[in-house]
Amino acid sequence: MGIFVKGLVKRYGGKTVVDHIDFEIADGELVSLLGPSGCGKTTTLRCIAGLETPDGGRIEIDGEVVFDSASGRVVEPYHRNIGMVFQSYAIWPHMTVFENVAFPLRVRGAKAADITSRVSRALQRVGLGAFHDRSSQQLSGGQQQRVAVARAIVHEPAVLLFDEPLSNLDARLRDETRAEIRQLQHDLKVSTIYVTHDQTEALSLSDRILVMHDGLIRQLGTPEAIYARPNDVFVAEVVGTANFFNVIVTTDGHAVTPGGATFHSSCLSPAGPARAMIRPDRLIISATVPAPGPNTLQGIIRQRLFMGGHYEYVVETEAGSPRVLSSDEFAEQTPVVLSFDAGDCIFLPA
């Protein structure tokens, strides 16, 4: 049954940090809450965990109502069937690795033999099979993170809650752990909410992404859909780098820039001023001049940054100075032509 949230409201003092949001997470689905700090994503997660008491709304976990303002029902966090990974990992320093992971089983009154086998399995799963008796204070950041994950899954909770679990790891470890979390979640098939402000994490991990801003849901959809067809400029920027051009939409699917270039898009959009959005990797850069027509821009390369696998260019055109990714090499100050597919250009509200 996953997670069901309806009309969730949370205020701190006079400030509404979560403002009547609704969403549903299917069984075994991983949904990221993505947004800048202060957008309400962590508060939403903590309300689901029961660590904050909402001011209104209704939350169901696995079919059970755990919060309902109408009936006044509040289930304590420790009676919700959840597993949670904290940003600080919250590994108890006075317990060994084994005891940390065994804790959820012990408080549930599991049998000793059962505890041993399940803790071993959980630790094996996160690649810490040999760490049983290690003091939790001898662990590196990455190892602590794994212990936190083992502790969250050991009792096979109905839902997994991650609160920015990778933000304290260095870049390389983050990539590695991200892949492992995805694999783990696939294997366990458990409904998961993953709070992050990192677009790469959200895009690569999620079945769906929920973009939040100022306590509101701005968009909910698959990573591909949100990346390719964001609802607005805010969402477009949250999930990746975006180039924007000021345009006037004339008829459906057609627009002109102030300089006279014509943009065609396969998206429908009302007439009037708008912002055309094209991702840097969707602009095609070439030295040869194709036949002039729609969806081409003449420009000059103003900056070139070598990124390893590819180059990033800033190209000055009469419509603006977009960033363009390409594996082809051009010298700075070279005149070039940018072109794009109608399917890669969308018109957003100005």
């Binding site: 029961g50 304590e76 966090p77 940003q87 408080v107 502790r151």
Partner: protein
């Protein structure tokens, strides 16, 4: 590192002046602290009193093993262990209520604990004598056999000390409690543990070292306690080491040599405890907050909240409200009677304060000693903190050790040390002796308050001043001092209050012309003049509490 340091020190930009200041600071500190200790050591091997003809002897040290002293030592330890355990339990309970539960009156409770914190111990003791001595208000009004309580007893001493020391435990424990990473407890809830399991398996184990540290501090505070056992113990023939030392010195025939040996033995106990406490704090600080400042969701007390309310009200009533009322009552009646309806009301006691030249003089003396002495104490403390935490010139460890020594020395012992040494100095019988004694006794208060702030100041703030062309002195004056101002202010008032109400250190060294307020109150009380003693106590308490409430708001906040 040390090379860089010494070269930075001998540069031309005021380096010699800083060196001179360091040497002066070191010598003054050494003089203030080593002199009384050396004098005590000397005195403990003498047959006579300071200033009389005396010869070398081992007898004082041998007498430490006498049945009387051993009995006193055991009594002191018993009182102090019981006091420490209950004070820490009480303090921990209050801290938990305020910082982890949905207790309804948090602000009021913290304010009330703050009030009790600043309510001088000797005044609290006096109030409890009025309340619970054999002819006191409780016993007289509640004329029931099995409810009679004699405050002049070991139980009485322990009772008053617990009331007095609980706020210390509270303020010691609340720091670790606030700064503990709350996600550690939340992870417990998220793992399925109920509040009781989280307290037992997460909060308590993580707080074990702060609790131990509080236990040791409360133990030391209790061992050093002089005013409370003097007021309720001496009449009940219960002696602690502190009162024993006082009796040995003040009643003839004086045995100042034995008193010196007792004092040193006492300092060994307290000094060792403080050493242990500091080791614990240094090695095992509780895990602190790393991420965001989410507060743990307060726990619902539910139907237990009335019990919590009742316990807190009981504590506040016993530690402040009822004692204060008893004093107000006693200060307003002509002759002491337990029943207010039989009392003859009067302002006479307050009038007597102004009519007695001795009392007026003790007011002025207190103002000079507390107001002026605190300037000296704070200056010295700031210099020491600056040298030991920041500049670290050669020999700073010795300075640090010297300055923290008084932590482990009871007030009455420092007083005795000053008595042994200053009899030979021309300042004997002047207020300066009291000032020196207080500065020495409370030096750690100043160095700790300022030091905590100095550590917080990022070194780059000062380095930026150097890079901008200010030398060490100029950067100290124009960058550091302004940044330290809040700490200096609170440090000043902390010292002022401490000097203002000190009894133990003054008890042995005051003379008729250098009497201070606390001693006047005690003297009135001992002469059975409860009315004037109460009136003076109220004036003193009002001054103390007003000062604290206006100047040091911070400690009273939740």
């Amino acid at each position: 590192m040390s090379g860089a340091r010494s070269s930075a020190f001998s540069d031309r930009s005021g380096g010699w002046l800083i060196n001179a200041i360091f040497v002066a600071t070191f010598l003054i500190t050494a003089f203030l602290i080593v002199t009384p200790l050396a004098a005590l050591l000397h005195g403990s091997f003498q047959t006579g009193s300071p200033g009389t003809k005396t010869v070398f002897t081992f007898k004082n040290w041998a007498d430490l093993g006498s049945g009387n002293i051993i009995h006193t030592l055991l009594t002191t330890c018993f009182i102090s262990i019981v006091t420490a355990v209950f004070s820490t339990l009480g303090g921990a309970g209050l801290t938990w209520l305020v910082y982890r539960s949905d207790f309804r009156f948090k602000r009021s409770l913290v304010a009330a604990v703050g009030l009790s914190f600043f309510f001088p111990g000797f005044i609290l003791a006096m109030a409890w004598v009025i309340l619970a001595s054999p002819g006191g208000i409780f016993n007289d009004l509640l004329d029931i056999e099995w409810l009679q309580f004699d405050i002049y007893s070991i139980t009485g001493i322990i009772w008053i000390q617990i009331l007095h020391i609980i706020p210390f435990a509270f303020f010691t424990l609340r720091g670790p409690m606030i700064s503990m990473d709350s996600s550690l407890e939340e992870a417990g809830y998220a793992s399925g543990a109920n509040p009781w399991a989280v307290i037992r398996r997460v909060t308590l184990p993580l707080m074990i070292f702060p609790l131990l540290s509080s236990l040791l501090l409360c133990f030391v505070l209790s061992v050093e306690q002089f005013a409370i056992p003097a007021m309720v113990g001496i009449p009940g023939h219960v002696n602690t080491l502190a009162t024993e030392l006082y009796l040995l010195t003040s009643f003839s025939p004086p045995n100042t040599g034995l008193a010196a040996a007792v004092g040193l033995a006492m300092s060994a106990v307290t000094g060792l405890s403080i050493f242990l406490q500091r080791q614990i704090v240094r090695r095992h600080s509780a895990p602190t907050v790393t991420g965001r400042g989410y507060r743990v969701r307060p726990l619902t007390l539910g139907r237990w909240r009335f019990l919590a309310d009742a316990i807190c009200l009981f504590y506040v009533a016993m530690s402040f409200i009822i004692p204060a009322l008893a004093l107000i009552y006693t200060s307003g009646i002509k002759f002491f009677v337990a029943n207010p309806f039989e009392a003859a009301w009067t302002w006479r006691n307050y009038g007597q304060i102004w009519q007695s030249p001795g009392t007026i003089r003790s007011f002025w003396n207190t103002l000079v000693v507390a107001g002026g002495g605190a300037v000296l104490g704070l200056t010295l403390g700031t210099l020491i903190a600056w040298f030991t935490h920041r500049l670290k010139p050669r020999g700073y460890q010795a300075l640090d050790a010297l300055a923290s020594l008084p932590f482990g020395i009871p007030g009455i012992v420092i007083g005795l040390g000053f008595l042994w040494s200053y009899v030979y100095l021309p300042i004997y019988g002047t207020l300066l002796v009291l000032v020196f004694c207080y500065v020495a006794r409370f030096l750690p208060y100043a160095t700790e308050t300022i030091g905590a702030q100095v550590v917080q100041l990022d070194k780059s703030l000062e380095e930026a001043a150097w890079a901008s062309g200010a030398n060490r002195l100029a950067s100290f004056r124009r960058i550091i001092l302004p940044l330290l101002r809040p700490a200096l202010q609170s440090g000043y008032f902390l010292l002022f209050i401490a000097y203002f109400r000190e009894v133990a250190a003054a008890a042995l060294i005051y003379t008729a012309s250098t009497q201070v307020l606390s001693i006047s109150i005690w003297a009135f009380f001992e002469n059975a003049n409860w009315g004037v003693a109460s009136a003076l106590s109220i004036v003193t308490t009002v001054i103390t509490v007003t000062l604290m409430a206006t100047v040091m708001r911070a400690p009273l906040k939740v």
